[in-house]
């Protein structure tokens, strides 16, 4: 029975992907990142759980794409597969046409928490990737200080993480992710632990920083407004198993300001997305 219902859900996935197909703009160049039928199954036998079911997506270079879904829909798993931290059960992720099998220098990862090393100063934390890749610290010192300035954290380089607020810590972790100039920035609900006001400020700052570096960005969130505000495109993931429900292109003008959240187009997109997230069977 369970198997039959899974099959039914599977076919629903295919339909919804096909339905959302026309909304994707024709790809001019080859995509920066491509998910091809990515499926992830955890456990075996009775504990078998399909976390992701044939997720296919392509993301063009320099785009900011959010993956939106309820908690437990497998969006973090999807990001971890993209980062090469865990393998997909079926399907593959391609970066510049080559399959991603392990993490690489070309990707910056920002976690749900700032994950700073508490015994290192802010500057030493930002330079950690430099050390791990056996590069010279002094070659990156200026770059690190530039990043701190960009983050509005000038003068904090010798502080310890414990001295910073949650928002500041997360900014340091973004600086750490950017220090080696990755071509892809992967962010896993980086502002989920922050209060609403700080979070909106961080959204504005993230866009400012991103507009300077223009890396391809994949941003995981369960916050609809955050996804709309930040992204060129929002991919709505359905739950259990995680599958692409609908893809929205966000054509709001950039640079975006905090007040854009109150525009009619913004709120309409949020509403549509909310419906897409909560929609169950009626899609068929």
């Amino acid at each position: 029975m369970a198997f039959a219902s899974r099959l039914a859900q599977g076919s629903a996935t295919i339909t919804s992907v096909a339905r959302s197909g026309p909304s994707v703009k024709p790809v001019e160049a080859s995509p920066k990142i491509e998910f091809r039928d990515v499926t992830k199954i955890f456990g075996i036998g009775a504990k078998r759980m399909v976390a992701l079911d044939r997720v296919s997506l392509s993301i063009e270079d320099g785009r900011f794409v959010s993956i939106l879904g309820e908690s437990g829909c497998g969006k973090t798993t999807l990001l971890r597969i993209a980062a090469g931290l865990i393998p997909a059960t079926h399907g593959r992720v391609l970066m510049d046409g080559a399959p991603v099998t392990k993490p690489g220098r070309d990707m910056g990862f920002v976690f749900q928490q700032s994950v700073l090393l508490e015994w290192r100063t802010v500057l030493e934390n930002i330079l950690l990737p430099v050390e791990i890749f056996n590069l010279k610290r002094k070659d990156y010192r200026d770059k690190a200080l530039d990043l701190l300035k960009m983050m509005g954290l000038s003068g904090f380089e010798d502080h310890y993480p414990i001295q910073l607020s949650g928002g500041m810590q997360q900014r340091v972790s973004i600086a750490r992710a950017l220090i080696l100039k990755p071509s892809v920035l992967l962010m896993d609900e980086p502002f989920g632990a922050l209060d609403a006001i700080t979070r909106e400020q961080m959204n504005v700052e993230l866009l400012r920083i991103w507009s300077l570096s223009r890396t391809t960005a994949i941003f995981i969130t369960h916050d609809i407004a955050e996804a709309v505000f930040l992204s060129d495109r929002v991919v709505v993931l359905g739950s259990r198993p995680g599958c692409v429900k609908q893809i929205f292109d966000i054509d709001l003008p950039r640079p975006r300001q905090a007040d854009h959240r109150f525009d009619d187009r913004f709120t309409k997109l949020c509403r549509d997305m909310k419906h897409a997230m909560t929609a169950r069977g009626e899609q068929q």
Partner: protein, 276 residues
Amino acid sequence: MTALDIAPNEAEDTLDQTAWYGTKAGQALLTLVVFAAVLAAWWLYVRLMALSPLVLPTPYQVWESLVDNTASGLLPMHLWVTLSEIVLGFILGSAIGIALGTITSQSPLMRAILNPYILASQAMPKLALAPIMVIWLGFGIAPKVVITALICFFPLLENTIIGLTSVNPYQVELFSALTASRRQTFFKLRIPNALPVIFAGLRVAITLAVVGAVVGEYVGANRGLGALIIATQGNFDTPLMFAVFVYLTIVGIVLYKIMELMESLFFSWRHIKRGD
């Protein structure tokens, strides 16, 4: 959300800084007053009960014995012996504990195999081994060093394993996302993570080391503060015995403070005020 939010709770338990007893000098004065009161009560008790100095000497008799026997060189000589046992045993035991803990932490299989033995040897009171150490190693300083080392070994073994293995899983994931090698993860993540825990083990060990050396001397020795206590018991020189207690207390405090000082030099970041 931030560290600042914790501040009000912490403030509840602090002193009124404006009152005279809120100042450092005021507190030091109060501590001295309490000390004087305890000494006075002690003295009064001996006098009122007309106790013999054999049972309980007065504070002044203890002071006299302390000064005389320090000047004569008796107490410093025994102190030197005990102190060498403590320091040698502490260094030996801690070093072996840290080394074995580091090796054990590298493999879950090894931990699983060794765990019952570690548990058993933890439960076994190490001081009970003192007599056999005397049989094996004689009456010199060696058996006391070994007993002290045994006592210091286990807190360090355990804390090293805990410190090196209980690493924040997010930090481990950060290192794998950065493609860090095992070696890099060990030196840049596991060791810094373990250091505070290892230092906590050292603080426990240094206090235990004093106990180990003194009790080791009880069992069979002619030198050392422990041996001196046994000798004063035989001679009914209770004031000198109390003088030894004073020495031991000071040794314990000084060694502990040295460990604390080393720790604070190592982890300046831990002493920074939250929220700045």
